[in-house]
């Protein structure tokens, strides 16, 4: 047995050394895009998976070569970004506000490589934001889709549509940080504007993975009368939606269109087109139209939107939502970015 394994080992080594000669950079003029995800992993049901979707779309449509690296701990951000930069990738995309300092460090070390960061701008070692000529900051105005779905929620609660009989709406965030709270700020702003008598509840799961926790918060809100549950908590938010499904009320998804998570329960979703942002940035690099510094994705450039609206939502409310989106686009409505009903 030992002999066989030794032989296998030797043959493996031989194959390896011959294969070695065939490896080496694929070179050539193809554009190479590298994506470095946050610690949440590719399947976080949130910005990592959307960014990955953008990468895959770009690979398919734009004929670019892509690679992805999942960071397992925050210590990995710098070496993961560096790895792509060292290999002269044409664009290195980082995901998330935790990478602000890491991307600053690496972008400074590789001034000839183009970077992009989702949800953040480079921050120097003092912690101050410092834009760099080779980093594109991809920001989203999450309060805008939050506002539009808030319009739908407010009107359904006010008109007591379907199961929404208690005139109460609610939301659940993952953690209390601005990029989560902005969605909710818009949501609450819409509700307070359109239906001031509607009760607003808000909570947090303190987690982006644990679905059971999200479900508990949901059940808690439902027991207090909530009929429309807006989740902003990634994987944990799926539990929030599950609570709505179990109790026969409504939910609103986030980031991607989540209508097929629970058909009939999810009445719409607040979209953050991270995939589009990544795709557009790749395209910009390809077309030599890369723009460093702040790049905002909002209603004006279709960087945000709302997902499929369930048939239970009456036509007049759909119209109102479309109008709200148009008003935001034109600047007539500026949704708030601070939440009013805290969790």
């Amino acid at each position: 047995m030992k002999r066989i394994l030794a032989l296998a080992f030797i043959s493996l080594m031989v194959t390896v050394t011959t294969a070695c000669g065939n490896l080496g950079g694929l070179g050539g003029p193809t554009i190479k895009i590298g994506l470095v995800t946050d610690v949440g992993g590719l399947n976080d049901k949130g910005f990592n998976s959307l960014a990955n979707q953008g990468r895959l779309d770009a690979a398919k449509d734009l004929g670019v070569e892509t690679s992805v690296t999942e960071s397992k701990k925050q210590e990995d951000y710098v070496p993961n970004l560096t790895n792509y930069a060292q290999q002269n990738y044409d664009l290195v995309v980082g995901v998330g506000f935790l990478m602000t300092n890491s991307i600053w460090k690496v972008a400074k070390q590789f001034p000839n490589i183009k970077f992009a960061l989702i949800d953040g701008a480079p921050a120097n070692d003092k912690g101050d934001t410092e834009n760099l000529p080779n980093v594109a900051n991809l920001f989203f105005r999450e309060q805008e889709p939050g506002y539009v779905v808030g319009v739908i929620a407010a009107m359904m609660a006010k008109d007591k549509v379907g199961k929404a009989t208690h005139n109460t709406v609610c939301s659940m965030g993952g953690i209390p940080i601005p990029s989560v709270d902005r969605w909710i700020a818009g949501y609450q702003d819409a509700v307070k504007t359109i239906s001031p008598t509607t009760t607003i509840l808000h909570g947090y799961s303190n987690d982006f993975v644990d679905q059971a926790k999200g479900k508990e918060v949901g059940l808690n809100h439902i027991s207090k009368g909530c009929d429309i549950l807006f989740q902003v908590a990634g994987g944990s938010g799926l539990g929030y939606i599950a609570a709505a499904k179990e109790k026969g009320v409504y939910a609103i998804g986030v980031d991607a269109d989540q209508s097929d998570v629970a058909p009939g329960t999810v009445i719409t979703s607040a979209l953050k087109r991270v995939n589009k942002a990544v795709y557009d940035t790749v395209k910009a690099v390809k077309d030599k139209a890369y723009k460093a510094g702040d790049n905002f994705f909002s209603a004006t450039n279709d960087g945000i939107g709302i997902g499929k609206i369930d048939p239970v939502v009456p036509a007049n409310i759909k119209t109102a939502a479309d109008q709200a989106l148009a008003d935001i686009k034109s600047g007539k409505i500026k949704p708030k970015t601070e939440i009013q009903v805290k969790g």
Partner: protein, 376 residues
């Protein structure tokens, strides 16, 4: 009483095997290497089935861990906190305590270091660095000592306490850094503390001319010192002798006239101190502030590191390097060879399984000539 493996952490204070590491590592390296290769072979088949090239994958793994000076420094950067956390777990194991709390103690140390470094940021390095280090060691130690005290005074099993403590720290850290008392005023949405002063930074020890971009900081020197301190403490001081006696069993300790409970608080303080030092190194050497959720998993991996390393200084260091190599090489395996990070985890787990089984099987092979042990 002899034990061929670590008895239950939950069991009465029995110690893990205290066999000298050299006996095992030196005995016929062929057998473990062949088993590891078998594990890698199985992994290769999985990688093949998943649609990637296993050879390219394994080459990337090796290259990522050791293939260039930069990569070697990156592996060491991970190995440093792992070694310290491993010592934290091992110190406790030697005394018959199961320190699952290394992660929480590490984070407490990091928070203390981050706070001290920022609070006194104007102090020169000659004062600030030792102050930061001390604050982390004491904070981590105190956090660990709580578990020790609860066990000594109230008989609370340290497994329960330390697991609960770990989670508590995580949530307290969330509160402190997500728009809380320790959040930096210019954080702009990133849950992080204020940057530490220049005096609290552990400098990069390999100049850029030799290894460009290297992040290897002076923490590696602290880690080496800690390994030596661990060795000296456990094997050259009377305290160490006492602790190991307690670890070998209550009966042995009683015969030597030692009350096991007396040292529990001290041991957990020491263990917490080592882990707290790991946290300080992450702050002072790498991040220069505290980020919510950073340094995930070290305390946990440290348990396997300590056990694989037989709770001995050299063993822990080698095991930490192995884990770090896998972590570092694994990311390159994904980045350069397209192997799913989850398959990398599967390969890692399989190798770990094989190594765990292997060491013991060979230990038994070594002792085959002796009469059957008595298990009291």
């Amino acid at each position: 009483m002899t034990a061929a493996a670590t008895p239950s952490p939950t069991g009465p204070g029995t110690a893990p095997s205290v066999r000298q590491p050299t006996a095992q590592w030196a005995q016929g390296p062929a057998v473990p290497i062949v088993s590891v290769l078998a594990a890698l072979f199985a992994g290769a088949i999985l990688i093949l089935v998943s649609g990637s090239d296993p050879i390219r994958g394994y080459l990337a793994l090796i290259r990522g861990a050791f293939g260039s000076p930069y990569n070697i420094t990156e592996t060491l950067v991970i190995a440093v906190p792992l070694t310290l956390a491993g010592i934290s777990v091992a110190v406790a194991f030697r005394t018959g305590l199961f320190n699952i709390g290394a992660q929480g103690q590490l984070l407490v140390g990091a928070l203390a270091a981050g706070w001290t470094g920022a609070q006194f940021s104007d102090l020169p390095g000659i004062f600030l660095l030792p102050l930061t280090l001390l604050s982390a060691v004491i904070a981590g130690g105190a956090w660990g000592a709580i578990a020790g005290w609860l066990k000594a005074a109230r008989g609370v099993n340290e497994v329960i306490t330390t697991i609960m403590q770990n989670y508590t720290v995580v949530f307290v850290m969330h509160w402190l850094l997500q728009n809380g008392p320790m959040t930096a005023p210019n954080a702009a949405g990133t849950p992080a503390s204020s940057p530490i002063g220049a005096g609290a930074i552990l400098p990069i020890i390999i100049p850029n001319e030799i290894v460009p971009l290297s992040r290897l900081h002076a923490g590696v020197l602290l880690a080496i010192a800690a390994v030596v301190v661990f060795w000296f403490l456990m094997w050259r001081t009377s305290l160490g002798y006492e602790l190991r006696a307690v670890g070998l069993g209550a009966r042995a300790a009683a015969q030597a006239g030692i009350d096991p409970r007396r040292r529990m608080v001290l041991v957990m303080f020491i263990a917490g101190g080592f882990a707290g030092l790991a946290g300080m190194i992450q702050v002072s050497g790498l991040f220069h502030r505290v980020f919510d959720g950073f340094s995930a998993g070290f305390g946990f991996d440290a348990i396997a590191v300590a056990l694989l390393g037989k709770n001995s200084p050299i063993g822990i260091t080698l095991a930490a390097i192995l884990f770090a190599a896998f972590a570092r090489g694994g990311t390159i395996m994904q980045a350069d060879a397209g192997v799913s990070s989850h398959l990398v985890e599967v390969v890692e787990a399989t190798v770990l399984l094989v190594i765990a089984a292997e060491a013991i099987v060979r230990a038994l092979a070594v002792r085959r000539g002796t009469p059957a042990e008595a298990i009291a």
